[in-house]
Assembly symmetry: C2
Homo-oligomer: 438 residues x 2
């Protein structure tokens, strides 16, 4: 067998975290050869493309606040200063909350922590909301159906103006193109990484090595196009992490869960157009990304196609999987009809009789505390588990991965803020549990 | 379809944690109907039976110290006061350590925490060890092979006299027989639980319920013998936890890993008999359960068959799995020959030319912090993830599961010590990371 080709770094997975990692690793280690591999025909085509592509800095943990706030500011920087249009639009994020939930310790702590981190937000009361969104139903007095459905009324709106939506393929393109201008190694697309190679360190060339008494590390990857060697393998594989990490005995701590988005068009439907163009929240004159008080139902405005992308963050009752399943690819119309629609049309009667014109599915890569895992161990650097918010954390995660590669104790995030490089690690994790996941 | 039979509690998995849970739940809730189910033809036949069946209270986390110390004291109580012979023998546990490791912060903290918890231990120096175990090789001066193998020399022995070995099938029998005398429900063996049933709460009898806007909980199990309903399903499934919990959207946080044991006979082999009957450690006049300084190799004495059970706690490099695999069942002779034997025979030259007469495999159920997970959520009580020490934690884990069932804030462990009932939960976990896992 020919000696496998060798690189300094192999990056597995060209989603948004992978291409951002490629960019920072090459930028800060210009002499290193970096091979970027993805099993799909191009970058950013898996869950990055399937995402609702909304970004928010309104998290409850100071870690997620830092990761997202700096990433979003870098997104703004790309668009406004580097003149690379990402179609980033500051629609804002709006949580609709019952009084009970608003007064709950967890929401009060969330707001307090945002204050501490200078994350701007605004509280709207019911009457203001009602006047800004006339199509919003704020209470269900006497509605027995709503009571059976456990629907909480709307008493408050928690709004963040620095949040928004973007086109993730354009963000992927930015990182990838910049990486390609710096790198001598052509990225490989359509190549599936089937396993990690374990090597003895030092090698003794014994049959079956590495044995338990040998030092060992990951020394490369096996792919559908043959084996490649590397000093460091960077894993930005999202919902496929376990497939590569479990066989070498590393617990990724992540699990995959299906999410779906349903496209509802508003054009020619006055009640939906009225909801979509609710004024007063932003310069776009549109409704923000909105999270309903109950059942995890949410939607984002989609101004280009004059409509909404509707989703649902179901927790208990929606299966986890070891790795992403093929069944994640499709939206299920019965899910919209029986689970999402009944809730949506109660809060926003304008959605009555709405039917999605399109739908798709993708995977969330959950960590147990809903904060990403970025760590270096045994020849691997892994950056995974963004828990549904990879696009809004990618820039920070990639900078941390690069700091770990260079052996720095701290990563410098966009705007100069520092973060301990091992704060997101498996062993020295220093994070609060994130309570605001959608 | 006939209306499924209903129980107050269904316990899935009749390993040692399952039968202990059945015992405490029935004892403290005498009016409740409790069905115990296992897919094997009898209790305790899966990983409980495959274990090295050694018990120790020498852990580094105060949580594991409390769980094991009270469980071992209950084991002694069963044997000496309840006159139920468990073949529990206090062989002791002996860690052989290099000076570097002994002086390391983690070992110093381990000893300090044992002192704080009144866990008795003793430190032997090299010369004492040498005189008590003449067959022990304490250094490898000039041995190039040993250097290539990264073998650390023996400078210290850390010994715990309150540790030992037992027959786990007898412990399982104790709990099961006691449970059966109290219960009106006959345990079901040879019945495989294939899934958990999710029910809407309250039920609305809608097709496809529970929908996302309904409250839901686990309301029973699907089995190869039909469906059964229950108010509470207790999961003591060890390495199969993900198979049942992932589909309902609960991350068990556990992973399975294969472990193997190899039986080496000492009879008629003087050097091995000399090692086996090393005197001075215990009243049995035998060598303790012994952990070598390098590569995770360990053995336990087996006095009845005059020999050793030899194993290896390999960490990085040994695959994790989502659930236990069929390939766990067998010992691999090449693993003994290439990985274990070279290490064992360096420290104990008496093992030279030894070949195992028997071997078997089983599964460890790891949690990320090597401390069990016991929690109540959505109709489930789960007690899993003992991380290779289920037998020595089962009694305490079962008492905590019962306290959670009864809604108590604290569990009373054997000897009257209390533990917060939610200390081992997913959400309110209050534990130190355990550093002394074998």
């Amino acid at each position: 067998m020919a000696n496998p080709e060798k690189f300094d770094i192999i990056i597995v997975g060209a989603g948004v975290v992978g291409v951002a990692s490629a960019y920072y690793l090459q930028k800060n280690n210009p002499d290193k050869s970096i091979l970027l591999i993805d099993r799909l025909p191009a970058a950013g085509q898996a869950n990055t493309a399937m995402s609702a592509a909304a970004v928010r800095n309104m998290f409850a943990s100071s870690t997620n606040q830092l990761l997202t706030d700096t990433t979003i500011k870098f997104i703004e920087h790309i668009q406004s200063e580097l003149d690379h249009d990402l179609m980033f639009e500051k629609t804002g994020y709006l949580w609709l909350l019952s009084e009970k939930k608003f007064k709950h310790d967890s929401v009060q702590m969330w707001m307090q922590r945002m204050k501490n981190s200078s994350i701007h937000y605004q509280v709207y009361e019911k009457d203001e909301l009602k006047s800004m969104i006339p199509g919003l139903n704020v209470d269900f007095e006497g509605d027995e159906e709503a009571e059976l459905m456990n629907l909480e009324q709307v008493d408050y709106g928690l709004f963040g103006a620095d949040c928004g939506v973007l086109d993730p393929t354009k963000l992927v393109e930015f990182y990838l193109e910049e990486f390609k201008t710096m790198s001598d190694v052509k990225p490989m697309f359509g190549v599936n990484v089937t396993g990690l190679t374990l090597v003895a360190d030092p090698p003794l060339d014994l049959p079956g090595e590495p044995h338990v008494w040998q030092n060992k590390r990951v020394g490369g990857v096996k792919t559908t196009e043959g084996d490649f060697k590397a000093d460091t393998v960077v894993l930005t594989t999202g919902t496929w992490a376990n497939e590569l990490l479990d066989p070498v005995g590393i617990d990724s701590r992540t699990k995959a869960k299906k999410r779906q988005l349903f496209v509802v068009h508003a054009e020619d439907k006055e009640p939906l157009m009225d909801i979509l163009f609710s004024r007063g929240f932003n310069d776009l004159g549109c409704i923000p990304f909105t999270i309903l008080p109950s059942a995890g139902v949410y939607f984002r405005p989609q101004l280009q196609e004059k409509g909404f992308w509707v989703g649902c963050g179901d927790k208990f009752g929606r299966a986890y999987h070891y790795v992403q399943q093929d069944s994640y690819d499709n939206g299920e119309s019965s899910y919209y009809e029986n689970s999402i629609y009944p809730v949506l049309s109660k809060y926003f009667p304008g959605f009555q009789d709405s039917r999605p014109v399109n739908s798709w599915g993708g995977g969330y890569c959950y960590s147990p505390d809903a904060i990403p895992l970025v760590y270096k161990t045994n020849g691997i650097i892994a950056a995974n588990g963004p828990s549904g918010s990879g696009i809004m954390k990618a820039d920070a995660m990639a900078r941390i991965a690069d700091a770990l590669y260079r052996g720095e104790t701290h990563a410098e995030l966009f705007g100069g803020k520092k973060m301990e490089a091992n704060a997101l690690s498996l062993q020295e994790r220093k994070v609060e549990i994130e309570s605001v996941i959608i």
